[in-house]
Symmetry: C2
Subunit: 220 residues, 2 copies
């Protein structure tokens, strides 16, 4: 294996539950209350797919203005709830290890700059590392575009990449990109959900992934 491609939220930083609750509150404020677990299982999809899925739950279409207002309100509540990003256990050490051992990796996230900058900074991601964000591609997960763009910019083949993600959307997108994948429990999915979506291995968090690199054939 030549390279790792990491998702960001729920995979390297502990932000999933703040995102869920921020969506739940933004939707409830707008009179569109949806159960927490249904929001949880949609986190990590593209925002457009997410709001369309929400519309289906509600049984009516959302106007572009409603979608825009929801996304803005979600962002405001999220920052109030979680002003500081916290790396998941072992994430900083894993990134440092990959740099020290010249193991190629990139980041591919459904998030956008500037919102993701705080997470990249706290993880110690260097400017030379390929970071593909939502605005760089036409279609987000579970479409494979984010991972394919990351792989191309890193200059490796899809078959040489492992995707590391916490949501089934990462794992489905990885399969469609022709990449192997690794699931992390740190986004709150169950182990079987991740395995069934195609994860070759499931670990608890970046720390366990780090200890298990031998199982993956990515050590030099």
């Amino acid at each position: 294996m030549q390279a790792l491609i990491f998702d960001l939220d729920g995979t390297l930083v502990d932000t999933v539950y703040a995102h869920i609750f921020a969506w739940q509150k933004a939707l409830a404020e707008a009179g569109m209350a949806i159960e927490g677990w249904r929001i949880h299982r949609k986190i990590g999809m593209s925002g457009g797919l997410f709001t369309r899925a929400v519309a289906r739950e509600l049984g009516r279409d959302l106007t572009p203005e409603e979608v825009e207002a929801l996304q803005q309100r979600h962002g405001e509540i999220f920052i109030q709830l979680l002003p500081e990003r916290r790396p998941l256990p072992g994430a900083i050490e894993l990134i440092r290890f990959l740099y020290a051992n010249n193991i190629l990796f990139g980041i591919a996230t459904s998030g956008r700059r500037p919102e993701i900058n705080g997470s990249l900074d706290i993880l110690g991601i260097r400017p030379e590392t390929v970071v593909v964000e939502r605005g760089d591609v036409l279609r987000a997960k579970p479409e494979p575009d984010l991972f394919l763009a990351c792989q191309q910019r890193m200059g490796v083949s899809a078959g040489d990449c492992y995707v590391v993600g916490d949501a089934v959307w990462d794992l489905l997108a990885a399969r469609r990109a022709g990449m192997l994948s690794i699931g992390l429990l740190s986004g709150g999915y169950g182990e079987d959900e991740l395995s069934k979506a195609g994860a070759y291995r499931v670990y608890r968090d970046p720390a366990e992934l780090h200890r298990s690199l031998d199982e993956l054939g990515v050590l030099p």
Copy 2:
């Protein structure tokens, strides 16, 4: 089957994600940051087991004063986050149906009065229905005490009871009580997690359970 025993949070009311985030914030404020997914998988245990599990994650014991302060702060944040309880889809209709058809049921929750009163009110639980709360028994889930107390007060045998719950703690406690159990996805566990913990059937929410009563042999 003679009777149903329902858990409350995550099973009949949509409160799990607010509880998770309230715990995450209360712990972080106290300098004991713990990842969201680890908190999620502990929700529904007794508070004492929960704080002991937290202590193990932190690698040190918590003083009784720390435990008390954490529980109090969790309660404050929870009320701020979620001033109104929302029933899960179909919960009110299911309760109404059970009353209308004289199907015996009770509530057994790790929550306490007066905090749970709002949930009981919004669900239309009548005064004659058996409600066993944390303060009524010595040990909470995954110990079987809550369910056994509920069954005894309803006057039926354990083998005639179905437990309905959203957390593995409900299902483990049901097995120890000698009761069959049904899992609901509305607490955010995966289907396989619930099945492996012993659920005979897994449904999405109370609405799907209601439509499926035929599969359970509880219809008159």
